[in-house]
């Protein structure tokens, strides 16, 4: 516990691993942009082209949120909690 083969860095008092950050960024960024570019197809399927701009932003935020859930599940936090 407390060791990893990756390079560790301290940012704002948090320790992060470079590969894990890259993985999280690819997942969240990938899902956010995937949802963004899927929006035109989704609105045409719904027959509501007037909602395109609104849905683009909502779907991409939702994509980023899904990315956060997935990343949280697969990445180990780099903290050791000790209780007094």
């Amino acid at each position: 516990m407390g060791k990893t083969s990756q390079n560790l860095y301290e940012i704002f008092g948090e320790v992060i691993a470079e590969h894990d950050f890259l993985k999280a960024f690819l997942i969240t960024g990938g899902l956010a942009f995937l949802m963004y570019f899927s929006a035109p197809k989704i609105v045409s399927m719904l027959g509501r082209e007037d909602l395109l701009n609104a849905l683009r932003v909502t779907l991409s935020a939702l994509g980023a949120f899904f990315g956060f859930i997935v990343s949280t599940a697969i990445i180990e936090p780099k903290r050791i909690v000790e209780e007094e």
Binding site: Y9, F12, T28, V57, S71, T72, P77, R79, E84
Partner: protein, 452 residues
Amino acid sequence: MDIVSLLIQATFLTAFSVLLYIIIGMIPGTDETATIAPITLAFLAAGFDPLLVLAWFMGTIVAFKAADAVPTALAAIPGGVMAVPQVPDALVARKYGYSEIILRKGITASVIGTVVAIAITLPLSFYLTPLGELLKNPAGPLDWPGWVYLIVAGILLLAVMSKAKVLALLAIFPFAMLVQGLRGLYGQSAFISIFLAITIGPILYELLTLISPNNHHLKRQDYARIKLVKTGKISLNPLHHLTKVEVMLSSLLAGLSGILATFMSPVGLTVLFGDLVKESQKDELKGSLMAYAVRDAIKNATYIGGTLIPLIALGVPTGPMSAGPAHPFFAELAAFGGLTPRDVLLQRYSTSTIILVTVYATLFAAVLAYLILIKYSKQLTRFVFKKVPAEALYATFLAIVLVLAYNDAGIAGIFGSILVGLISATFVRNGVSIGILFMVLVAAPYLVGLLF
């Protein structure tokens, strides 16, 4: 939308925002602006009802401001930027074995700050509404609208009060030129991408430093070690947690700070009044406990006052809070036909409906956050520290910022955001308040106009 339906939706949204932002607020290094503004902006840019987004926003403020002090009390690690001034107080409390006491004092004081701020600033906002019309009319030697003079005065005040006074003053015109230069390149008055770049700048700077070969100062061999102090069962009765003097000081200073935050920096007010209270006490422990409680009350009050007075009364962003985290409500958005969410809010709803929903959402959020934090602060802190990786959180906010920057100005918006983020972070890292940069963004067309 009828009032019952509004209140039901506000209940769900506020409850969700409280739960989400309690967790985000506890995570070290999460900046308030970087975590609150992008999601608020995403909701508004998607055309969600401004009153419901305001209910969401009040929930995020109340929960974040109460939760960011929890890891500060339990582990001397600030959950957010606004909790940094509380770390020395928490360390003194820890030395005397008062960590649990300071924890419940902080949570209770943040509820007091919320209640006092909403009770004072919301009615005041409606009384000040005529002033808003005056501030929109061009006046004075430069023929600027009145609010621009206010915001420029705020920039100068914040600059001379910041650590790096000369750099802060020197930053004003170059940063305004950067903003206007990018807008010229984009061929439109882009706002979202530049605004978000400032919010995410400090995190972006640190992350990009990792690519540099000179990043060795950031390297670590081991995971972060966090020591959590022992806590017992905490009473739910708020009257058990604060002394009469602490209640009085927290109420008084929260009310005053809530009004001053219309023009002044929330961090500045938290430091200023907290330090004054601390210095007024000869006893180190008593001073720290009192200052910690007062700072928690001020944190909530400044965010609420700094949002509501400019939003309802003035109609223009006049301080670091309204030009920063709350600025999405003042932005002209395509989803509202080029109007601002603030205009739509006041056109769509009566004064009584706005008051009712805002008061309800804020008080509901305060009670919910209080109950959760008083009862489960230790378990939640343990859960967040053990289960939520910082990588996932930083990556999520970065992804939201990049996609919104792309939506605002295409690929150029992404590169422009990186540029603005890096320059903003350089100023912030060298002692310039981020509030100055937000206010310069708002006043940029007028400031650059002085140069040509």
